[in-house]
């Protein structure tokens, strides 16, 4: 049986990818941020998961505004990174698992979560930065992947509550796969940041910490907020935190907190890290 053995969260700011490409991890600005991932990397190396479901949003690489699926998932054996318009170095392709993905898609759709399935899917920084943060010290990516894209770019967006429900359905989808597989699910994006308009530069540490606490043991607090309520506090781009709810919904009610970390600002953003495991 496949099993979700952990839920992780992380921000996915493109500046992190640039810092890695430029070897700035030990720089004064970056050190505390990157250090916050070391215990998670060590844990992942010990438990060796087989596959990572990466919940992220595409920022204008695979999906243009002509077609915007609310929930889309990769159903391929390989996913390529590509130039987002900045000409930064590309990463080696990511291995997928088409048979597993199609099982998950079928289970989700049978449960009423009407997925968009993608047999070609370019993955942008929303996906690649988390992969780098957790696994860049390996010569080859040591996990297979399932990219799970949530539209957080063009409103109307889905809600935090719906994300949580989709996470619950994902857990059932994964755990009905007969093959033995250790799966981790990564909620990416956030925390508070607003890139646009006269309100840009917003960071709300209080709200970020409240979100982290909520994700751990009181998801209702976050998922009962409307998108407008979340954007008022976390900023228009901070709405990405709803993707952490997909991760949380995929874990049982009780979780163990193996690691939590927060740093701000990174670029324009409050950056949080969590490693949670099922407690039951």
């Amino acid at each position: 049986m496949a099993k979700i053995i952990a839920g992780l969260t992380t921000s996915h700011i493109p500046a992190i990818g640039n810092a890695i490409a430029s070897g700035l991890e030990q720089d004064e600005y970056w050190k505390r941020f990157f250090d916050g991932y070391e215990p998670v990397k060590k844990w992942l190396d010990e438990v060796k998961p087989d596959l990572a479901i990466v919940v992220y949003n595409d920022h204008g690489l695979n999906f243009f505004l002509n077609q915007v699926p609310t929930f889309a998932m990769g159903c391929a054996d390989q996913y390529q990174n590509a130039d987002e318009g900045w000409g930064i170095p590309l990463l080696q392709p990511f291995e997928g698992d088409a048979a597993f993905s199609w099982h998950v898609a079928e289970s989700l759709i049978n449960q009423g979560v009407d997925m968009c399935t993608c047999q070609e899917m370019l993955v942008d920084h929303g996906f690649t930065v988390p992969m780098q943060l957790f696994w860049r010290h390996h010569d080859n990516w040591p996990v297979k992947t399932l990219p799970f894209a949530v539209n957080t770019v063009q409103h109307p967006l889905t809600s935090a509550k719906r994300c949580f429900q989709v996470g619950q359905a994902l857990r059932q989808a994964v755990e009905s796969y007969p093959e033995d597989m250790k799966v981790v699910i990564i909620g990416t994006g956030g925390l508070s940041h607003q890139l646009q308009g006269e309100r840009s530069g917003l960071i709300d540490v209080e709200y970020d910490v409240a979100c982290i606490n909520s994700v751990i043991d009181n998801p209702e607090w976050l998922y009962n907020q409307s998108n407008t309520e979340i954007m008022e506090k976390a900023g228009t781009e901070g709405i990405e935190v709803i993707m952490w709810m997909v991760m949380r919904g995929a874990l049982p009610e009780k979780v163990n907190v193996l690691h939590k970390h927060y740093h701000a600002p990174i670029s324009n953003t409050g950056a949080g890290v969590l490693l949670l495991t099922p407690a039951e």
């Binding site: 505390r32 250090d35 916050g36 215990p39 920022h59 204008g60 690489l61 243009f64 505004l65 002509n66 590509a82 130039d83 987002e84 318009g85 900045w86 000409g87 770019v153 063009q154 409103h155 109307p156 607003q194 890139l195 646009q196 308009g197 006269e198 309100r199 840009s200 530069g201 917003l202 960071i203 709300d204 540490v205 209080e206 910490v209 606490n213 409307s226 998108n227 407008t228 954007m231 008022e232 228009t236 781009e237 907190v257 690691h259 939590k260 970390h261 927060y262 740093h263 701000a264 600002p265 670029s267 324009n268 409050g270």
Partner: protein, 133 residues
Amino acid sequence: MGWQKHDYDSIPGTYVFDGKRSNSGYNLNRMAYSFIHKNNRDEFAADMDAYCRKYNLSDEQREAVLAGDFLKLMHLGGNVYYLAKIAVFHGLTVQDAGAAFHGITTEEFKQLLRDNAAGFENKLQQEGGYWHG
């Protein structure tokens, strides 16, 4: 009838990118999306005005692109992730654009971010359980 109002319209200094904005900014964002291909970036760099016309930008949008006026482009339906692909040609990052939205220098904008996050380590200590304090 027409475009419906939303509760998020009243958040100050904020342009929630919804159907109305995406509709008005479609050609602008479509042009910015084309920059994921280097040959298009080269074509744009060689003659920005002509490239904007090829994508049917409005006169206002074209002028704002050429001037690198990102607040104006927000007003004209630009999405911030797509505007980031245009900012590169003006030698700008999202932090430079953030500064421009406020009419301050990038250094001042970075300080604003640090000020907004100030005291976070104390907050984490009060909460307890955080790695690194």
